[in-house]
Assembly symmetry: C2
Homo-oligomer: 437 residues x 2
């Protein structure tokens, strides 16, 4: 029996909304672990697990639904030191560790005393995803997408991307030994091309902007059989990977939830999944329930969610991005409305800052905590600062800020702002005369 | 009582060689954990723990000596997920986790099935230190140097460097809140300057080559009080950090030693310390004793140790480096003679490859395992390949290759070798016509 190859169809309108649909008989048992179906986030309609991302009833986004067994802290702690320690809570098979993957996750949670003192916070932590295998949180979601691609017997592993996602997909595909195709805009800077091309000889440059590349990817997904585009037709599985950020924060805090979390918002998926992770941990009895205020961070040059939040409206008006925070530059964020709901419901907020403040955020984190983040992290740290200054964040509450990526990928953002304090002749007297210390 | 500030003196010729010297009374108790003294690697003479690096009797290199208590696997496994899980085996205090540091280590040990198949090896692992906080193994040694600097009440944390070490020192110093000064050659490429300057406003450019910068650092260490140069006057503590690579390999293999290890050779310190780590684990009863063949890797453009190995001589003749593997470009390696001893004694070898083979090594690792390494890692992987091809490495034995750094730092090495397979118009028909898949 061979597994189904990924097909880019809409989901079959099969089962009644209150019954889990029968699994595709071509899938091996437990292919998606404890996941039971894909459920529409809007109308609740459920369809069988497969390469589907839109509800056949209402076209709402599909999300993985589960029937979790009892899971203990001890079971998790005995697992590997990567995201697979949470495999029981992800749509992956129980033998996931046996299949070559990049083994991402379980990154540092650092107490940030210097940054806390600088901002006037009582207790602050940085969850640092810049130390993932390809230096961004994308390794988490791609690892889950890779598992889905494998179980669905995909022939090609693929994505459209301009940066972090391309790196993560190219690296994971190489390690898995799968044919991997990455589509990028042809005008992408050379260093970013190299950082993906090093892993795959199937990098495709497309003459157009990112929207054009994205559209082409959807078209290929619709025409070709057996392609798993991580952020298109296996997106529901992919998105679940972000939950591991929430699990890790709770476990690394000693199995408890923080009071406040600040999270960058691109599509908004990560923020919604961290929330989902916290709720699952509570439901499973792994942490005590408590209020957690959730804050979203955007760059002003692409701040459709922050704009809606401040205007007090529910609808997100798409924008044309113009910011140095390119990994957050999604003008029409798919999960924007859910971010609004969550931030309002939990007593959080969505805030945005200028590109200059993004640059200052990068330097602030580097100089206080020795973490060199990319523009997305600069945005998150800069927004944290602004939330404190505007009184939106409670400085007496324990706060976690998520750093999603690494500064070497966006060097240009700060290259003109830092440099040698002095240039001296190679002698002790020249050093003394410089007065540098 | 205040701790002594770091002073760049030669070690006091105090105790007889067979007695541990009394600790400096100004140090707090347990400042260096289970370390008892600094012992000369040549003559065995011991001096008290302090900012000393040369034997007062024979000018040989000083190394940390210990009186280890009983240490169990369970104690180590219950520790933090970074190098401090091995704190009982390092010259650091028992409360080291309380002092802000970058929390490096416990990086991935990946089974490399694709690379093994490509090279014809039965069992191969990659120890991947590119996911350390500043993306190289230097975070390990710098964390130990930082602890020494703190215990010695240093006023300034410093180093001369052109790359990875500068990044690690600048980041660790920032997080520790110490005044941190990093000296670099003034002609260093801008991206490498930025990658250190982002952390500190005390980057000093020196008009000269790396040797000039190094000399200036030694001069400052000799003239100024309270400076801790990680790779000069606190070097014995610094160097111990490399042992954690060996501990982790053994623990991650399930508390056993591999049969063969391939390690890059710059100063040679890392290779000697990995060996020391294996010996300590055996002595402590934490792993079973067994033969481990140790191999050193150099780039031909800076291969003084490999040259001596092949010539069958004991003396290392210094060279003027000319290779793209700049983080390995030490023409007069301090630990070269010990590397020769170890590789010969264990049945290993020292081998070198051309810069073109270094570039091929980078691509080989990226395409087979999804790990983007810098030129040093390209050297190590390329040498692994050559060792197999020349029959110096036993392909039936379990082998570990160490990746010490990250490809984003040396992008230029491969920038001209990789790129898009095709550039197409943004349409499905153009994609099909390209024949790329």
């Amino acid at each position: 029996m061979s597994a189904p190859t990924v097909e880019p169809t809409t989901a079959p309108a099969a089962a009644p909304a209150d019954t889990a649909p029968a699994p595709d008989p071509r899938l091996r048992e437990g292919a998606f672990g404890n996941a039971t179906a894909l459920a529409c986030r809007e109308c609740g309609h459920q369809v069988a697990l497969g390469p589907f991302y839109a509800c056949p009833e209402c076209f709402g986004p599909l999300e993985v639904a589960y029937d979790f067994p009892a899971v203990t802290r001890e079971q998790i702690e005995a697992g590997p030191r990567n995201i697979w320690r949470y495999k029981a809570l992800l749509p992956v098979p129980d033998d996931i560790e046996q299949s070559p993957n990049t083994e991402p996750g379980f990154t540092r949670l650092l107490e940030a005393r210097n940054l806390a003192a600088e901002l006037g916070l009582d207790k602050l932590w940085v969850k640092d995803d810049s130390t993932n295998p390809t230096n961004s949180f994308k390794d988490r979601v791609v690892a889950c997408a890779l598992s889905a691609a494998r179980e669905l017997d995909a022939k090609v592993f693929a994505c459209p991307s301009t940066g972090n996602l391309a790196n993560a997909v190219a690296a994971a595909g190489a390690r898995a030994g799968m044919k991997t195709v990455v589509f990028i805009p042809s005008n992408l800077e050379k260093p970013k091309q190299v950082n993906s091309a090093v892993y795959t000889d199937k990098l495709v440059a497309v003459d157009g902007n990112y929207d054009d590349v994205n559209k082409l990817a959807s078209e290929i997904a619709g025409e070709e059989e057996g392609w798993a585009f991580v952020n298109v037709n296996v997106r529901p599985f992919y998105a679940e990977g972000s939950k591991t950020l929430g699990y890790e924060i709770a476990e690394q805090l000693g199995w408890r939830l923080p009071d406040q979390v600040v999270i960058p918002v691109a599509s908004g998926s990560q923020l919604t999944k961290v929330r989902k992770a916290f709720q699952e941990l509570v439901a499973l009895g792994l942490v005590e329930d408590k209020p957690v205020r959730i804050f979203g961070a955007q760059a002003t040059g692409c701040s459709p969610v922050s704009t809606a939040y401040k205007a007090g409206v529910d609808a997100i008006r798409p924008v044309k991005p113009d910011t140095i925070a390119k990994s957050l530059a999604i003008g029409n964020p798919a999960d924007g409305i859910y971010v609004l709901d969550i931030c309002r419901e939990t007593g959080g907020a969505v805030e945005d800052i200028s590109d200059d403040e993004v640059r200052e955020g990068i330097l602030l984190l580097a100089r206080t905590e020795g973490i060199f983040t990319e523009t997305a992290g600069g945005t998150t740290v800069g927004v944290l600062k602004k939330l404190v200054e505007t009184g939106q964040l409670d400085t007496s509450l324990e706060t976690v800020v998520i750093n999603t990526g690494m500064g070497l990928k966006t060097l240009d953002a700060v290259a003109d702002r830092v440099g040698p304090a002095a240039t001296i002749a190679p002698s002790y007297s020249a050093f003394v005369a410089s007065g540098i210390v």
